[in-house]
Symmetry: C2
């Protein structure tokens, strides 16, 4: 590579080892394209058909015509700049009523470029100065810690689902003169842990949030994908005091290539001019400085998909729910087969049994770092994700994340066999 | 609005009076839907047809098939997460070669959610600490000053196109222990001023950037729309030392509803691990924390449009170029008709004569603020944009911005007549 080096340091978020780890993992994945991959968090592709895009788009445009828009107005909606909050907030609200039993005012919805942009907007609005802190479940999804780094916002980890620790940590921070503003949590089948919070824990977290003047940022991309059939209320459904900002995504329930997410922010805030507004309105102002609008094209295609499924995305995902449940079942059965109780005791191997979603955590008797992952890819043809990168304060060195989302049941069987060979070899067994 | 107020202040960027001014202008525009509007910066809609979307999408998918992708790989490209830099960097590079004579390595292209996201990424990467400063042309597009506010980055205005002032201001900042990192500039038919920089000034700005160790952020959304037929090289085309990060947008040359932009960042930087990489690669890492990916859907539709026009977007925009040129010609002719030389001397009225683009600045003998704008909307049925909000250090109180982009020639004739009545009334003439 030629050319003079650009003078001056770059922003500290680019020195985050997490970013380098993610880049490295992507590179390893590219270098072993034929490996069986338990690494990606991306959805199964079997439900996608390219000819659906034009159909859903037409459904949405017909919906606009049905609401009395002229052809010129339909054209404007699809092609022009539009309202910063988006154009399908009403359709999203109808879907949430059916799927989650949530009563949502469309005015409190902001359509975003993935849930990632929603996180960025909420963190930016809430954290006004150096004393402001974001609390994050640990282990934690890297998107939110990364967004905080980008904005120079300090994060403090809280053990996942531990409301007592939450109260203690928030109290300690206040005593130090810092201001904990919000807790980030994935209540259902979390990335990376696979953990689901019992309803009682959800209530406890909300109670502590009330006592400690915290908002709760609920990120719920996997909520539909229950393995057991059990379904718990979202934190937003339990929220009686407008403590919860709900972050939603259509990446897993529709498709990632639309990059469509949304947030519900029905909190009342004091605007700089003294008036009271919805937090959603303030977040929309910030959005005008990040992406201006979420693409109308993506909104139209997903909007058409919602209409075509009568605003019932949960039912539309019945096939996906069954697919992921079968994958998790297979993963857990194969782990059990290769590591029966006595064997896993002897080796120091273990795993959790998630109630749904994409992810299971495997504990191994060696350091499960990127070097180990690369050995596993090169010699056994299997990819996975080291867990250590997900712990903001360290930990997880002997853990790895297994995702079943991109594999068939037969691939899972094959992959676990290879993985078992790798684990035994690394353990010297 | 009920509910307890959310405790704690919000981020300072939400107190920016600019945001409130923009919100107010949007509200006024909505309250006077039948007014003739010289306010919007959005493109003319006459060239859009909704049935083009599915056609362009199919052209792109066929292009992938023609490159040997299987149907499953085509599906993945459209529906899944993809490379952070985007999937049509190569198509954009081919188009820039034809349209701008630029030789661009696809590896230095990052496809973004509008040029706005590109600005945010570049500002974030370059400004690492409180001593880092962004220099901005004054008057300045509000998107870049807003992005800087969101990131708590200080901006310092430099008179538009003034390379001597640029050198003096950068030198003064360095003497104060601050570090000017980059200059933001719109070289062609700028928003809001309508100004174009002569080629000699472009060369001077680049020379000063070299002397002062600055990058130049070149934002060029209006470059095609020359009224006179004259065409100048972009700063990137004149850039021999990789000083220029070029920000591009398809909002005005294709359509805004795709929200598709890109940046070219071929600078070599030192990564935190000591290796040298392209700045584009570092910006892509940051993008994984703002929007993860630019929607593949938008990239596919615009990619198909580029292919369908043989990678010659300038020729594809011949109709748009003629339309905007006719609009500007009409505006300038009607201003001349209503305010001939003696009359404008008497009133204290004046305007510039932009060589292209959407915008002209009118100087008036009264304060052209939002209150005046609302009087004009209510009593004369004409909308425009106050200029004062575009001056980071104050100024422009007697100026207003007129955009011809959304009006027909006849509407412009009618609008200028009404505007002239308003100006005379306000001037007490």
């Amino acid at each position: 590579m030629s050319g003079d080096l650009l003078p001056g340091e770059l922003h500290g978020s680019l020195a985050d080892p997490l970013l380098d780890a993610m880049t490295f993992l992507n590179e390893v994945t590219e270098r072993y394209p034929d490996a069986l991959s338990f690494a990606p968090g991306r959805p199964h592709e079997g439900f996608f058909e390219t000819d659906q895009v034009a159909k859903h788009l037409e459904v949405y445009l017909d919906h606009l015509r049905g609401r009395g828009l002229t052809e010129a107005q339909v054209r404007t909606a699809l092609f022009q700049y539009g309202p910063t909050k988006g154009i399908i907030g009403d359709l999203i609200a109808r879907t949430l009523a059916n799927d989650e039993g949530l009563t949502v005012e469309p005015a409190s919805v902001v359509v975003t470029v993935g849930a990632q942009e929603g996180m960025l907007l909420v963190l930016r609005a809430l954290c006004a100065g150096p004393q402001d802190v974001l609390l994050v479940s640990s282990p934690c999804y890297v998107g939110v810690t990364g967004a905080a780094r980008l904005l120079d916002i300090a994060t403090v980890p809280v053990p996942e689902g531990d409301s007592v620790a939450l109260a203690a940590i928030a109290g300690r921070l206040r005593a130090e003169g810092r201001r904990p503003r919000a807790l980030y949590v994935v209540p259902d089948f979390a990335n990376p842990s696979g953990t689901s919070l019992p309803t009682s824990v959800r209530e406890e977290l909300l109670a502590v949030a009330g006592q400690q003047d915290l908002l709760v940022l609920e990120d719920d991309p996997y909520g539909f994908f229950s393995r057991t059939g059990e379904r718990r209320p979202t934190l937003k459904a339990l929220d009686r005091d407008r403590r919860v900002v709900h972050l939603g995504s259509f990446a897993k329930t529709c498709f990632p290539g639309a990059r469509l997410g949304y947030l519900i922010a029905d909190q009342v805030v004091r605007a700089p001019d003294g008036s009271t507004t919805l937090l959603a309105d303030q977040l929309a102002k910030l959005k005008s400085m990040t992406t201006v609008n979420t693409p109308a094209l993506s909104q139209a295609v997903i909007g058409g998909l919602l209409i075509a499924h009568d605003f019932r995305l949960r039912e539309a995902n019945a096939g996906a729910v069954a697919h992921y449940a079968a994958g998790l079942d297979r993963l857990l059965a194969e782990l059990e087969r290769h590591f029966p109780a006595a064997e896993r005791e002897r080796l120091g191997v273990g795993w959790n049994e998630p109630e749904g979603g994409y992810f299971t955590v495997l504990t191994v008797p060696f350091t499960a770092d990127t070097a180990a992952m690369e050995r596993c890819a090169a010699q056994y043809g299997v990819l996975w994700t080291p867990m250590a990168d997900f712990y903001p304060d360290g930990g997880g060195e002997h853990r790895l994340r297994l995702s079943i989302s991109a594999l068939t049941a037969d691939q899972i069987t094959d992959g676990v066999a290879r993985l078992a060979d790798f684990v035994r070899a690394e353990a010297g067994a």
